[in-house]
């Protein structure tokens, strides 16, 4: 049942996942920048944490998604996504798409932290009765109180493109970023 159900994690497990995600972020981000630059996207130095960099990054994703052949769709999904049952895999995002979205979800917080440095990482939490969608997940709490799950944002935008044929404007990622600002 993808995506992974973080609400089942104990507080200690959720905290450990957050810390691991943050500890591995620099390495994953560096690898993502190299991957983007090597596959026709913006150069590494162009992913500089400024909001405007989200436009060429999303253009890269759109091109890559549009050109992805069947042989390039496989591999393991990110650790926040449970593998799909084979019979429904064709109706869902491919593991390769999910990995690209994971890279975008790793880069997106760089932009928020650049622009809103008072933001802080926390584990998403609300009383169980609230059935909070980000329960147990790493979320970036912005200074005005909103809690951003970057994986969720990247996944939503990817779903629009890959499943619904929407979200193809070059500034779709930038527009989502701006919608989070106070």
């Amino acid at each position: 049942m993808p995506p992974r159900d973080f609400s089942r994690l104990s507080p200690a497990e959720a905290d450990a996942y957050l810390r691991e995600r943050l500890a591995t972020a620099p390495g994953r981000l560096a690898a993502f920048r190299r991957e983007v630059a090597a596959t026709g996207g913006p150069a590494e130095e162009e992913l500089d944490g400024l909001p405007e960099s989200l436009v060429p990054l999303w253009e890269w994703f759109l091109r890559r998604e549009g050109n992805r052949g069947d042989a390039e769709r496989g591999g393991p999904p990110p650790d926040w996504y449970e593998p799909d049952p084979p019979e429904v895999g064709g109706e869902r995002l491919s593991p390769a798409t999910l990995r690209d979205l994971d890279g975008i979800a790793t880069y997106l917080p760089e932009v928020f932290l650049h622009e809103l440095p008072e933001s802080e990482w926390i584990v998403g939490h609300a009383p169980p009765a609230a059935r909070y969608v980000a329960q147990g997940k790493p979320v970036l709490r912005l200074p005005h109180g909103e809690e951003l799950d970057p994986v969720k944002v990247a996944y939503a935008l990817g779903v629009r493109v890959a499943l619904y044929g929407e979200g193809r404007k070059p500034d779709a990622l930038l527009a989502a970023y701006r919608a989070w600002l106070p």
């Binding site: 995506p3 809690e147 989070w180």
Partner: protein
Amino acid sequence: MARLRTAGLDDDTIIRLGRAGMDPRHLDDVLAGAADVTRKGFLDWRAAEGVLRQTLGGSPRGFKTVLGARGTTGMRFVDAYDEVADVAREAKTGFTRLTPFVQRQIDRDVLLRARGDFARVEWHFFTSSVSETVGPSAELLSELNRRGIPYVIHLP
């Protein structure tokens, strides 16, 4: 009226809706703009939410947003969130007006969709077994259309 018949409603059901105060011409306009029209019978709100989850999947979930937040109201509770398809679905049972509460739900849905909390949002209108009415008022219909929120009508 034509769309009601096309949807398969018989005269008795149309008369029943009319006796409950439903304007056939308004209902016709509502059906014209619906993303889909189905038959689900007369339902109470609990049954309607259950049908929504059984037929389209998902579970009730809360989304945090400080938009319009007062006390514990800083969350948007959706009736059925499908996390794979990333669709939030709202169920309304019976004739529904654009009250301040409903307006706040729409405002939050638009914001949550814009910032990528979910990929899509849909509103589903079921026919109430209590009031024997269904669908959005003219004001609510206009607001849903203006804000780009697709809706589905579930006739009796």
